[in-house]
Amino acid sequence: MKLLRSGFLMLSVLPLWLCAQVNIDTSWKSQYLCKVKSLEEFAARFNLEESHPDAGTDSMANYSNIYSLFDFERISGKPDEIQRLDTMFEFCDSILDHNIRFSMENGGVFVGAKCKISYKKKTGIVDIYFKRDKTPKGYDRWSILAVTGLERSGLVDLSRISAIPPTEHEMHFMGLDEVFNLNPSNAFGYRYSNNDLDQTSVFLALVHSGQLHFEEVDNVAVYCADVPGFIFVVEELPRNTRNSGWLITSLIRTDTDEKIQFLNNLLQEK
């Protein structure tokens, strides 16, 4: 049964895959038309409001349109191609059965940007995760959901504990002048040892103080956990084929608990 379904699936995907590989219409304008140029266009095709030019209008058009959003280069020719296609089919079923719509405003969607930053003449990479939010007046905005990698990159030591002398209470803590003003680099270590530091707050505090400098963004990925049974990742692939632009580069089969675990692992650095 599985083989039959995979075969059926391959037949419906084959025209899209062939067009992408063989470049049937090599004109750059035609390729641009096929490209998923924006996440909004991704959403329109995902929600079946728009079609990939090669998707056709037959009974399998809905499946073809969702398949066209996958990065074919990560699927075709791989040893587990059949299993991948099978997972894609179930993913598609889940979207259509539950009538799932993709939107950047969805609760299960957030964006991760791998950023190069510099702090005290050292350069490192941090991951900044963004979530859609509203301003107090109700306008759309991106907000920073989490930052990870400050410690991993070696830029900041958040595990160190620094000492304020145990006799300071007798001196009415007059030594805080030295503690804070002469040794600011020890600041993170003066906290109570059971209080873990939140990397997001540390990052924003360093930005606010002007000590941290943003260099550039290396990579952007969109994470979506809204489809029951799956998490998928979307990235922009600027290729010269009919399969290019914002495409699904990773599809992970998960149950609810695994989904929560995956997201926790991503957003909280251990």
């Binding site: 750059w28 304008k29 641009y32 038309l33 490209k35 140029k37 924006s38 909004e40 266009e41 301003t135 107090p136 007046k137 306008y139 759309d140 905005r141 550039e216 922009e236 600027p238 290729r239 010269n240 290019s244």
Partner: protein, 209 residues
């Protein structure tokens, strides 16, 4: 007379309430068309800037006209957030990424257009062709009387030597930030002013001779 005054007040209130709320579908479509026009204007000026068949004066005027399409006319500028706080902005930039290069390159729009003007002199002919496909994305309200969006377009750049052979060519996909402001004219009429912002460029294909 009293009824007329009351009706006038009533319709004015409707007008004000429409202004305070989201744009209507027809206003959004009209805005998208304005954005499309601005992008097409930019592409037209770009093709003039690199066209060495046109006089140098005309080409330089095209640089000024192109910069006038952008926020701050290509210079530093400020905006205010919803709390009235001033936000500082660098001059509008072109960030260029290439499939052939791992890092991105960023330059001011003034510098980019200047380079386009000067580089064209190295060739017998330069042609910039648009894909004639401009997609305007969703328009978001970001402040009272202020909206933001993104436009997407693609163009081909080819330079030729005097024998007519291709020296250099590439196809680039571009995304441009768009800011839209509601301006009130002295007569009470409102217009939408569209300004282009930072441009993100992905060079997707190098055309070889």
């Amino acid at each position: 007379m009293k009824i007329k005054i009351l009706l006038l007040a009533f319709f004015s209130l409707i007008g004000i309430s429409m202004l305070a709320h989201d744009l209507s579908d027809s206003q959004i479509e009209s805005l998208k068309k304005r954005v499309l026009q601005k992008v097409e204007e930019f592409q037209n000026y770009h093709s003039v800037i690199v066209n060495t068949d046109i006089s140098e004066n005309h080409r330089k005027n095209a640089i000024s006209s192109a910069l006038a399409l952008f926020m701050g006319r290509g210079q530093e500028y400020t905006t205010t957030d919803e709390n009235g706080n001033v936000e500082y902005h660098r001059p509008v930039r072109m960030q260029i990424s290439s499939v052939n290069r791992s890092s991105t390159k960023s330059m001011k729009m003034t510098e980019y257009l200047d380079r386009q003007f000067k580089n064209a002199l190295n060739y017998a002919k330069v042609v910039v062709e648009s894909a004639d496909i401009v997609r305007v994305g969703k328009i978001y309200k970001v402040n009272d009387g202020e909206y933001r969006g993104t436009a997407y377009f693609c163009s081909k750049y080819i330079s030729y030597n005097k024998e007519g052979r291709v020296v250099y060519g590439d196809i680039t996909d571009k995304k441009v930030n768009v800011s839209i402001y509601v301006k009130q004219l002295p007569g009470g009429e409102e217009i939408f002013e569209v300004r282009l912002g930072d441009v993100y460029v992905i060079a997707t294909k190098r055309i070889r001779s």
